[in-house]
């Protein structure tokens, strides 16, 4: 049968692509739109590596069909920095060495950015619970949590 024709907004730009019903938003982002910053980890919604925002809501792009993106506004890791200027979260991840292999990092940055937009002054416990769906097998998490807390503090102008 004919493919679905989807138009959506990704990081503020209007995009269109064709997809089959079974393709996920993650597939479309990576394979149709070439936005390979969003990573495929488990493909079952457990690891959070594929985290994106859809109309401002944090979701796993592996748990959403591409065809469901029709008319939606998608935010990915590619939209986090402003050109050459890194987002405070990205700078703090570098400063705190909050990444090693890096596969989980785009998802964690997208998730952490979504938290700070909702709650600019989170407690460490809130950060840990918010990021519980983002698995990292390298860092042991403490550096990630410190980087997010530090970025939040800087963004509040503290």
């Amino acid at each position: 049968m004919a493919k679905h024709h989807v138009t959506a907004t990704v990081n503020g730009d209007e995009v269109e692509f064709l997809c089959e019903t079974h393709e996920t938003l993650l597939d479309a982002l990576r394979d149709q739109l070439g936005l390979t910053g969003t990573k495929e980890g488990c493909s079952t919604g457990d690891c959070g590596a594929c985290s994106v925002t859809v109309d401002g809501r944090l979701v796993c792009s592996c748990l959403m069909l591409a065809v469901e993106a029709q008319g939606k506004s998608i935010g990915t890791i590619e939209g986090v920095a402003h050109g050459e200027e890194l987002h405070p979260l990205q700078r703090k991840f570098l400063e705190h060495a909050a990444l090693q292999c890096g596969i989980c990092t785009p998802g964690i940055l997208v998730a952490a950015k979504a938290l700070l937009e909702k709650q600019p002054n989170p407690t460490e416990t809130e950060v840990r619970y918010w990021l519980a769906g983002n698995l990292c097998r390298c860092t042991g998490y403490d550096k990630i949590i410190r980087a997010v807390m530090d970025a939040a503090s800087e963004m509040r102008g503290a």
Partner: protein
Amino acid sequence: MRYEAPSSLDQAVALLAQESGEARVLAGGTDLLVQMRTDLVDPVLLVDIKGIAETRQIKEEAGGFRIGAAVTGAELKEHAKLRSTWPGLVEAANLIGSTQVQGRATMGGNLCNGSPAADSVPALIAAGAKASIVGPKGRRDLPVEDVMLAPRKLALTKGEIIASFLLPAKPKGAGDAYLRFIPRTEMDIAVVGCGVCLTIDSGGKCTAARVSLGAVAARPLLVEPAATALIGTKIDDAALKKLDAAAQAACKPIDDKRGTKEYRIKVAGVLARRATLIALERARKG
């Protein structure tokens, strides 16, 4: 595999009723997409119900609430009045999965996925919620405890969809709570879940109660003897002891990697007592 996103319940029902192959309703997709990915299901038709207004709204109705079957966990949490009225229910729905899963997961899907361990279901049962079901023969309202029959088996007939849940008006002096036990603090499936809703009068005597257990039988249970143990008492130690015993007696669990039969039975009694004390605290304030 076809994908349809109808804007009315009538269209959705017609699509499901007319499909001769396997058809699935798509709400949040957090279970369905995983099952499709792992070849547990292989539908020829997906009917996305999120374009249908009733499935996506939280409305006050008849003194209570009508909650769309495709309202997400994150949206439930953000609804201040729902959260203050039915904190146990909202907390139960919010226990499902991660922040990301909460952005998509729905109570309609949690129930229709047909797992005995679904977190929102015992809370819905305790609250006395009804599923508002629309199908080829019209609409019917079914108590939530009667919707799931066995693992992956529902009382819905071909073409029927749960459009919304009806929560009754909450009586004065009522409080609800849901607790689940998992071996870690986040991101796991219930070993046991327990929802309690109870009402007390001005003298502190329990006048009504509903107790529901999840993950201890082939489907979530409404445990009437556990409620009977509370009603007419001041929820003292003796009543809690009877409640504990009644909850344990209702369990018919399986052994699996999350817990043995004996362990689940014991934990069911403990959770029933603890959830009752939280519900009582809320009832005193409400």
